[in-house]
């Protein structure tokens, strides 16, 4: 983990509400692992005050890529940056997905919902390069919410899509698609990132079939470096439940450690 106050944005792609930035930050890129994130200062002003946590979407040599959706004021300001602008970033932060030796040669599902797809590109590429067989399941509300589909295909990563309205691919939630895939070809492992309800459903699916799984959790973060205790989630370890900082000990956790919030929370 390190700070780069002047990381240059080499390229910006705009797809509707989504943005893909390619950022030159060689030392950080060298250290990054799938599932880790960056804390990005969106403005040099005091408002908005806090950095925004954004997952690492890809590594391309000396560059790290981020893929994000404009969901509020912070991401809106960030989305206004152009190629050639610089960003103040801290990273790579957190613990990533576990790349278990035993996954080599095995079929692995990577399930992403909406902007939760972002870190799964980095993960699927590393898994593939490493000898596992990742299958990406990518869900969105409509065809406009799955802008990365072709990027996965171009990288030679098999991808199946779902849309809630059926405008592209499987009609329904991505967990419905996952259920179908798990029935057809049970994977050795499942990784997921997306809305809590989606991940909770994926947790149930894998648990009942004894498939190990890891989930990347999301929270508002004050600092991203373990100092504020703001980003906690309920985690169960050694029979003890407690509030655990996801910036430091996550954001990726094994399924069996996550205590999902009750519906409606």
């Amino acid at each position: 983990m390190m700070k780069n106050p002047t990381a240059r944005i080499a390229n910006v792609e705009r797809r509707g509400d989504y943005r893909l930035f390619s950022i030159e930050t060689p030392e950080m890129a060298g250290r990054a692992r799938p599932g880790q994130f960056l804390m990005i200062k969106v403005s040099s002003q005091l408002d908005p005050l806090l950095r925004r946590p954004i997952s690492i979407h890809a590594r391309e040599n000396d560059r790290l890529e981020i893929f994000f959706k404009v969901t509020g004021r912070g991401t809106e300001i960030l989305a206004g940056k152009e190629a050639g602008d610089t960003l103040d970033i801290i990273g790579p932060l957190g613990k990533g997905f576990s790349m278990d030796e035993r996954l080599k040669g095995m079929r692995v599902l990577c399930v992403g919902g909406g902007r939760g797809i972002a870190p799964l590109y980095f993960l699927a590429k590393e898994l593939h390069a490493w000898g596992a067989s990742p299958m990406v399941l990518y869900g969105g509300k409509t065809a406009a919410d799955i802008p990365l589909r072709t990027k996965f295909e171009e990288a030679g990563l098999p991808v199946l899509c779902s849309t809630d309205d059926g405008s592209f691919g499987f009609k329904g939630f991505v967990t419905g698609l996952a259920a179908r895939e798990i029935e057809a070809h049970p994977p050795a492992f499942l990784f997921a990132c997306g809305p809590d309800a989606m991940m909770k459903a994926a947790a149930r699916l894998t648990e009942s079939r004894g498939i190990p799984a890891e989930f990347s959790l999301e929270s508002l973060m004050g600092c991203g470096i373990g100092a504020c205790w703001g980003c906690v989630k309920r985690i169960l370890r050694e029979g003890q439940e407690g509030w655990v900082k996801i910036c430091e000990e996550g954001p990726v956790f094994p399924r069996d450690e996550i205590v999902w919030p009750e519906e409606g929370d």
Partner: protein, 304 residues
């Protein structure tokens, strides 16, 4: 070369900038981003006697130039601190201050008794002002009587100097400061966070699970400054100014108002090395104005 050191009487600091409790973890979290020995010192996160679970999330909400938190002092407790953290802080060439908490007067005393005998701690900062651990934002620092009683009891037990950290959620902070001084506090630090709230209008729900939280960050700086000025004008013990400081100019406002040192808080969340920037900018200011010792500036506000 500017002399940045300041003398609190009971403690000399190599410069007037401390990292504030609750925003600097146990210090070690920041080692990848700055040389801890360049700080005047740091105040570690508040410790109760035992581990403490903290409040349910959401614990944070960002507001204009500010942050409301309701962490609820989650922490590891004194035993784990002494076993796992203190050995790594002990040999640092900087001042380590421990912020101490208690549910009851007795717990404050137990915390002090436990930590008393351990090397590596320069002073205690008595946290009587966290708004997130009792119903409705209550805390001992809201009343001069409870402040006096608690400071006196802790002072009787402690082998180390006591810095009493005050709440801004009072009618007259100078009156509380005077009570702390009379009870024997070696220094006063202020302000802790302002009791605050924020509402999600779509959901008609509070944005914090705890409903209330404490507001910090640049948004509170002018009010904190006014309170520090009032307290520094009232008490003789050294005052440490806290509240939204993120630049050298911010810190200098507090020094001119009478603070002998400052704490940098929320700014460390945004820039882990924010305290070093504050130190550097104070030095640059002094050079620009031909000031040889930063102490020459303390309380030198000119009015009228």
């Amino acid at each position: 070369m500017v002399d940045l050191s300041v003398d609190l009487g009971f403690l000399k600091l190599k410069n007037p900038v401390l990292a504030a409790s609750g925003t600097f973890g146990y210090g070690l979290e920041f080692a990848p981003y700055l040389d801890l020995e360049e700080l005047g010192g740091f105040v570690v996160k508040g410790l109760y006697y035992g581990p403490r679970e903290g409040n349910p999330p959401p614990r944070l909400v960002e507001t204009p130039s500010g942050l409301i938190n309701a962490i609820g002092l989650q922490g590891i407790g004194v035993e784990a601190f002494v076993a796992k953290v203190l050995p790594k802080l002990r040999d640092l060439d900087t001042v380590v201050i421990v912020n101490i908490c208690g549910e009851t007067d007795e717990e404050y005393i137990r915390v002090v008794e436990f930590l008393n005998g351990h090397d590596g701690i320069a002073a205690f900062e008595l946290n009587i002002s966290c708004p997130n651990v009792r119903q409705g934002g209550a805390c001992p620092a809201l009343d001069p009587g409870t402040t006096f009683r608690l400071v006196k009891a802790v002072k009787r037990t402690s082998r180390l100097p006591i810095i009493t950290k005050l709440s801004p959620n009072v009618t007259s902070v100078a009156e509380i400061a005077a009570a702390a001084e009379e009870a024997g506090a070696d220094a006063i630090s202020l302000v802790n966070t302002f009791l605050a709230m924020s509402i999600d209008v779509e959901m008609r729900r509070p944005k914090l699970a705890n409903v209330f939280g404490g507001l910090s960050g640049p948004a509170i700086r002018p009010i904190a400054l006014r309170m520090v000025y009032q307290v520094a004008s009232r008490v003789k013990v050294p005052v440490i100014g806290i509240g939204g400081i993120s630049s050298g100019a911010d810190a200098l406002e507090f020094l001119l108002a009478g603070a002998r040192a400052v704490e940098v808080g929320t700014a460390s969340f945004v820039d882990p090395d924010a305290s070093l920037r504050v130190i550097r900018e104070i030095g640059e200011f002094c050079e620009r104005h031909g000031i040889r010792r930063v102490e020459e500036l303390i309380g030198k506000l000119e009015i009228g």
